[in-house]
């Protein structure tokens, strides 16, 4: 593992640095932030100063503090959603591959229909019916995103399912769960881990977009997409505050993408 890290290309190291930095900030948010998350401490849209490193936002809260807490809320939300999406998606994908027959047909057709629907529009419609709350947000996005995970894990599991060791396990009389957890899952992990990074990026951008539209995390909770929205008016006065949270979103996505690229490169076997 360490040897692998030493051989990693510069781009992957930059990516890992970015991801690590963001995670540290997210975990230690209360220690890093100089003020409280929702505390009004200054004037509206003050510029950079030693007291407010990044200035203040549209109602006078410290932007640096909001950014730090925003990292925590946004990343945690995206992370939980991606994990849920992988739980749903890969479980259904493995079941479809291992059982085959009409189970596979039924699941695949339902997923096809869900995928034919534009994701953002679907999410907007669900949120309009159920209202926007954190659990609704997480479940809606996780279910929509799990369709992509399903496709990949079904395809991967299909390849594994025809191997001799699976057949041997079947002949031994092992049950469906045993085959999924002991034979398919360990062999399907490498491609799924790379996919996890990609899906995380997608979910992260998706939540940021929803928050930007005012339908994601609700104020006064800090999150990066919502902060862009709240401070959007500043840009017409020549104050570049909305670019800071928007830039942070872009920065983290690029970081994750760099790491994923390296991962895909490794698992595709194209060494040197």
């Amino acid at each position: 593992m360490l040897k692998l890290l030493k051989q990693s290309p510069l781009s992957a190291r930059i990516g890992m640095g970015i991801v690590l930095l963001n995670c540290l900030v997210a975990v230690f948010a209360p220690l890093i932030a100089p003020f409280g998350e929702t505390k009004v401490v200054g004037d509206v849209w003050e510029s950079f100063s030693p007291q407010f490193y990044l200035g203040t936002d549209h109602i006078g809260r410290d932007l640096f503090t909001r950014m730090v807490y925003g990292a925590r809320n946004t990343i945690a939300l995206a992370f939980i959603t991606t994990i849920l999406s992988f739980l749903f998606g890969s479980l259904l994908g493995f079941i479809a591959a291992a059982k085959g027959g009409w189970t596979d047909q039924l699941l695949s057709r339902v997923i096809d229909i869900l995928m034919a629907f534009p994701t953002l529009i679907f999410a907007l419609m669900i949120l309009s019916v159920l209202g926007s709350s954190i659990p609704t947000l997480i479940f809606t996005i996780a279910i929509l995103d799990s369709t992509r995970v399903y496709r990949l894990s079904r395809a991967v599991a299909m390849d594994i399912e025809v191997m001799e060791f699976v057949e041997a396990a079947r002949l031994r009389g092992e049950g469906l769960w045993w085959i999924i957890s002991h034979e398919i899952l360990p062999n399907a992990l490498p491609p799924l881990i790379a996919e996890f990074g990609l899906r995380f990026c997608f979910v992260f951008l998706f939540i940021a977009s929803l928050s930007f539209l005012g339908l994601g995390l609700q104020p006064p909770l800090a999150d990066w997409g919502g902060m862009v929205r709240e401070n959007a008016g500043a840009i017409t006065f020549g104050i570049y505050i909305p670019l800071i949270p928007a830039g942070a979103i872009a920065f983290l996505t690029v970081g994750v993408n760099l790491v994923v690229d390296w991962f895909l490169h490794l698992s595709s076997g194209l060494h040197e």
């Binding site: 096809d112 229909i113 034919a116 629907f117 534009p118 994701t119 953002l120 529009i121 907007l124 419609m125 669900i126 949120l127 309009s128 019916v129 209202g131 990026c201 951008l205 940021a208 977009s209 930007f212 539209l213 005012g214 339908l215 997409g225 862009v228 959007a232 840009i235 017409t236 020549g238 570049y240 909305p242 670019l243 928007a246 830039g247 979103i249 872009a250 996505t253 690029v254 993408n257």
Partner: protein, 319 residues
């Protein structure tokens, strides 16, 4: 030929079924609301009589399947009901905004498609050079950026620093075509950045894929110029994936307009949808959501059919 027609019909039928199921999902979604629309709209202070009367007006007293058929019938005939927020007919709200959205999307397409194909060919021609890497890195970062980030960068560049384009795209009814185009140039540019990145990368990949085949090597050995090989030998044969990519990206464009419209306060269908979602104005959400989905599904269908027509291999493999 008959075979191709059958495949197209099959694909079209599948899309129609999808649209039907989606309309069903949209309808059931609204049905699942706790309480019903009448109570939600009138609030707690309403007397049972007014709720009852309003329910009858919305035809909520009929069984669900009857209402679904009536709703679908109305939808097909362009009667979308009245907005809950201001009582105006939804069709009236939507028609102008749909036209605006289509105007923005088609302007973007007219800029983005030729640009993406041109850049893709250039990148394939100069592959593995500095120029290629530059284009690849730029497009890769555009893919990872959220749309609103690109939008705000463009705003701060072109409207705050240089002051040549307006930062808000406000369209009035009797604006001349030229000034309309001028107003929407910044949102169109934002969308172009996002869409071009995808299209260009896939065009490049498709051409490079073809460049590896034997007949290209043959052409090279014959001593044909490289630019000619790319234009006349490689590009026509990579047309099928490229057309597919273009259509898929146009479908994406239809949905991508939502965020850009909100950034630039452009009076399009996407903004109406977002506004109605936060107001929970369900008839408007239903109608605009269904319109977006139909556009998306049919563009994807067009992608598949065009790919099938331009690639003889796909015509046969399915039977």
């Amino acid at each position: 030929m008959k075979n191709v027609l059958m495949l197209i019909l099959k694909r079209g039928g599948a899309s129609l079924i999808t649209v039907f199921i989606i309309s069903l999902i949209i309808f059931i979604g609204v049905e699942m609301l706790p309480g019903d629309v009448a109570e939600t709209v009138l609030g707690q202070s309403a007397t049972p009589e007014t709720v009852e009367a309003f329910r009858r007006e919305l035809k909520l007293d009929l069984p669900p399947h009857v209402r679904y058929v009536a709703w679908l019938n109305d939808f097909v005939h362009g009667h979308f009901g009245n907005s809950l927020a201001n009582g105006r007919p939804v069709a009236e709200l939507i028609s102008q905004r749909l036209a605006n959205t289509l105007f923005l999307a088609s302007t973007t397409a007219i800029i983005a498609v030729p640009l993406a194909i041109f850049l893709g060919m250039l990148a394939a021609f100069y592959r593995n050079t500095f120029f290629d890497k530059l284009i690849s890195t730029t497009t890769l970062s555009f893919i990872s950026f959220p749309e609103f980030f690109i939008a705000y960068i463009l705003i701060s560049l072109f409207s705050v620093q240089l002051n040549i384009f307006p930062s808000l795209s406000i369209i009035e009814e009797n604006m001349a075509f030229g000034s309309r185009l001028y107003t929407i140039l910044l949102p169109a540019l934002t969308l172009t950045c996002v869409v071009t990145a995808h299209m260009m990368r896939q065009t490049r990949a498709a051409i490079i894929n073809v460049l590896a085949s034997a007949y290209i090597e043959m052409a090279e050995i014959k001593g044909i110029k490289r630019s000619r090989i790319i234009m006349l030998h490689a590009f026509p044969n990579s047309l099928s994936p490229v057309i597919n990519v273009i259509a898929v990206n146009l479908a994406y464009l239809v949905v991508g307009v939502v965020i850009v419209e909100v950034v630039f306060v452009y009076p399009g269908l996407g903004q109406l949808l977002v506004d109605s979602v936060s107001k929970r104005d369900l008839p408007v959400v239903q109608a605009s959501g269904l319109i977006f989905s139909i556009a998306y599904i049919f563009l994807n269908m067009a992608a598949d059919i065009l790919a099938m027509l331009s690639n003889p291999k796909l015509r046969q493999s399915k039977n």
